[in-house]
Symmetry: C2
Subunit: 208 residues, 2 copies
């Protein structure tokens, strides 16, 4: 299993390689120094990360850009498209549902669940907002594996429970709650409030 830091950097290497692949007169190879310079990591870090892929660059020549890109995509599970269920048709949910950035990576929000009668039945960019009571049925039928939680913190844990019961295997949680999920369920949480409090801590510490 690949270390977390390496996995996070894989996304950044991939973006860099993607840009290079989109250039005219594009070069065939890149060295670890060049990839490090582009992504602002040391060549040693890049080499160590890429060795996890079994990708061994050639001395002086470096790595083949197209091969490296394909390998990273495969490792990140991006050689396939993923349908995503979103729970919470609020302000944050709306931003996430219509965001093209996820779609470009192969993550397509295909359904939104909410329990607010005034929102159920509406559509954003063709994505329907459905009643949460249809969650098990829709998730099972469409075989959706990934869900994003964007409901208020009081509803987050029961939403996670319901998603997992419906067959979801991976959750991105945006509610400021610590979720408890079975070991085999993949979970990533983002808490913007913690980040802001990091900043106020640093400013207060340095009396800024």
């Amino acid at each position: 299993s690949i270390p977390q830091g390496t996995i996070d950097r894989m996304t950044l290497y991939k973006r860099c390689l993607e840009n290079l692949l989109n250039e005219d007169n594009r070069r065939q190879c890149i060295t670890s120094s060049e990839l490090g310079k582009e992504t602002r990591f040391s060549p040693a870090t890049v080499r160590r990360d890429l060795s996890c892929l079994g990708q061994l660059g050639q001395r002086k020549v470096g790595y083949r850009i197209d091969e490296l890109y394909d390998t990273i995509n495969k490792i990140l599970g991006l050689d396939k498209a993923w349908e995503v269920a979103l729970v919470g048709a609020g302000n944050l949910g709306k931003a996430l549902a219509v965001y093209q950035g996820f779609k470009k990576l192969g993550f397509k929000v295909v359904v939104i669940f909410d329990n607010d009668k005034s929102k159920i039945g509406k559509s954003w960019k063709g994505i329907k907002i459905r009643d949460t009571r249809y969650m098990p049925e829709v998730i099972k039928r469409k075989k959706i594996k990934i869900a994003i939680i964007a409901v208020p913190f009081v509803a987050a844990q029961k939403t996670a429970d319901m998603l997992i019961k419906s067959g979801i295997k991976a959750i991105l949680n945006l509610a400021p709650s610590r979720l408890t999920v079975p070991d085999k369920i993949k979970l990533r949480s983002v808490d913007l409030a913690v980040k802001l409090e990091n900043l106020s801590y640093l400013l207060a510490r340095d009396k800024m």
Copy 2:
């Protein structure tokens, strides 16, 4: 200087203590085991974290909840209110601007900057959207220290440069770009795409 992990957990301890302070018939003290149980960290982790505050609990009795809460608030720089500038009046910017969760913590978005003529001059919940060319003037006049970047990735670095030139000391970046800032500027970045790719990596790795 306090370790990053400890600072992140401080926010979670604070939330737990806040809930206890809001209870009727509230108790006066909490032990590290109880605080650990509530926040799902080991008592040893809790004790080590709180020792960074110079807070020494009493054996058997634990820590005084009100004192611990005040001390953590002070360390996190939350004993004062912070005015926040937001750049990018898009879908994500809108969600952030009207989010009450930040306000409750003392982070108040007081101005939004954008360069889209069709958005400039509008208001969301009383917060005005202003032309980015007024950024230096407004930030200096209001002495704003914290900014949130919610512009497209191509605009993120120049937005950061402009904010810093205007007097911003701390940035929360939500654009999928690695920003370069001077050492004394506090920076936190959130990249939701990386989180989704973490999930697809884990699902692919375990063939889920």
